[in-house]
Symmetry: C2
Subunit: 437 residues, 2 copies
Amino acid sequence: MADKRKRRRVEHHDSDSDADTAHLTPKPLPFQKRLKSDSGILTSLKQFADSIRDPPASSSTTKKKPLTLADVSPSLSATCREVTDLSLSSVQSTIETLFLFLTKSILSGNGFSFTVPSRSSSNHIYIPELDRIVLKDKSSLRPFSSVSSVRKATITARILSLIHQLCIKSIHVTKRDLFYTDVKLFQDQTQSDAVLDDVSCLLGCTRSSLNVVASEKGIVVGRVIFSDNGDMIDCTKMGVGGKAIPPNIDRVGDLQSDALFILLVEKDAAFMRLAEDRFYNRFPCIIITAKGQPDVATRLFLRKLKSELKLPVLALVDSDPYGLKILSVYGCGSKNMSYDSANLTTPDIKWLGIRPSDLDKYKIPEQCRLPMSEQDIKTGKDLLEEDFVKKNHGWVQELELMVKTKQKAEIQALSSFGFQYLSEVYLPLKLQQQDWL
Amino acid sequence: MADKRKRRRVEHHDSDSDADTAHLTPKPLPFQKRLKSDSGILTSLKQFADSIRDPPASSSTTKKKPLTLADVSPSLSATCREVTDLSLSSVQSTIETLFLFLTKSILSGNGFSFTVPSRSSSNHIYIPELDRIVLKDKSSLRPFSSVSSVRKATITARILSLIHQLCIKSIHVTKRDLFYTDVKLFQDQTQSDAVLDDVSCLLGCTRSSLNVVASEKGIVVGRVIFSDNGDMIDCTKMGVGGKAIPPNIDRVGDLQSDALFILLVEKDAAFMRLAEDRFYNRFPCIIITAKGQPDVATRLFLRKLKSELKLPVLALVDSDPYGLKILSVYGCGSKNMSYDSANLTTPDIKWLGIRPSDLDKYKIPEQCRLPMSEQDIKTGKDLLEEDFVKKNHGWVQELELMVKTKQKAEIQALSSFGFQYLSEVYLPLKLQQQDWL
């Protein structure tokens, strides 16, 4: 029965299909006639994907790839703090070493104190060469013997002991679980959450190395096979629902793919459209969405896809300041977790659409555009001051256009030309024209 | 690598494991010693599952199964309105018949008018025999010729025409997509959403028959295999992340399962714990969660599982009024979609935990219990007046206890005994004692 209902792909110059949607809008599907054959588009996409995988020596992408803080400047690596993925056994032994050190300090009559890196906003810096936000090296003492810090020092010790247990048992828990192990001490979850981030910085490892995971929101379909906790998952066989992105990235491995690009989609409605139309079978790609604001699990998953498969990442977001902000969180990280930016961010994401210039270019009807609120305009102007926007001239122009026209539009605005306009015309045309920034 | 990290299951009387968690709480894991062998628990679970599948002739479950409005009372079926699943072609022909009728009315000089069932709260009734809320038969005229209803009549005609297109193309869209096809007419999404529900009632079919889907939130793992849009999905091989529940239930089929029960979990943190511990391999079951408030896709999926596999459904929710409310939405439906209650609800869900009486029974530490707010207590008292609570004496007692003690607790409160207390002790003991209501 499922087979019978399989979508008949609308042919590009099928006059029937134009007639079908003719009562949706007075005109036939705009721009559909400009589409070349799929094979032509695929050939040029393949060239593009190859150039990402094996960049010519002179290209700037080559230089960007292996850059670390130390490459940018030796002094930077001395003054900035970054964390790395550590194995469970390394986390365990680091904690044991730390407690041994603290015990010695107590036995020698000096009490004990944690040296905790500062995560305040004044301790952040954007490194253009790395294209991400990192943490500077300011840190503060958290002595047990001081009335003002005794609680926080106790919480820190407790969190470290809980993490140590997770290492021994080799299990994952959520931040909420962690909080509930000692409600009396932590009082509310923001306190245990904050100390958890402190502990990451303190141990110099990523939060996922601590086996504390955030709840998952993301889903994936398309041309990729991977293992999740030992089970092999073929994402071309995940129906319309897709595969939920695993919360614990360290159990994801064995990636195989014949995709030419990764399509990062802001919203699940667009994701569903592409999954139902099996867009990835027409243009080999991996489609992922975090259903709005990116969560840590989806960011880690995207990073892993990109770094292991070396595929271009094309982003499809709403044409509003929040769409761009979402793009920036994937690309450069959030301030809240800047100490972990090297492990959470995916460099070089291309802004495919919906871009402010697309509204006129694709003749999005006036009534599907929304006026920007005062707050929207302010957010847009603030973004224009951000380093990660400024370094991309194309993005600046688009954002300036958005703020000037005071118009925004959602991905769904394309539905005004017919429900399948996104998968049948808009995206194929974007790919054909390599129209991304 | 993933293999190496596979969880070593903690043995029940392993003194090491007690020692491991000893520093979590001063006492060893409470009640662990009361656990019988897994095989003993499995035998009694199997008997219970069989009794649900083939109930003895005298049991009340037999009578409940095939009940329809007409069974309860012939007059009820005349005065209440329910919708059924219709095939795409039936929806298409129903719309065509309706428009033919309207055209004739126009040609005969009478203009046209829709007869729309009322969905206002005064038009709702709870039928104890069916254990769900249904819609009474009040309806109102929506004439095109009246100034007060011309807009709504136009919107109704437009939505019907869009649904007709979906039938022809055999594709699914979201409510948001629908809204964006004609922003000028619909003005805001609440208007197109409301008319969509009207159209369901009008055509006498479920919303999923209209191929308009809500965004998916739910995930599933465990002992079930099903097809999603033609792809076979084995939920024992979905890692920790699980399989995203498909938004379009009509593309789900070919269910196979050797599970003994369905475990309905309120929160994804608990889901993750059970998935990582592969709880379903120790006690064969299907685990699903909607991550909070149940969405339509998860409710449809649960209903399909229950009705095709005939398995008992055990619910694990927070011990607060909202936990019970979530249970009631799965069980008896929400007022908002009462016209569709027969297709959205899953009868006879058992309340496994966390129940108010569990707090003392399992000695949940005081600091992991939370005081109920005034609003919580009011919600609890309101629930005591609801028919679906009143008909289950055990639920009334539990709820009265909650309101009396003014204490609530989340599922995570069990983490205070160790992160794996839920999967290693609490749930096995509940299953052993068949402790559900």
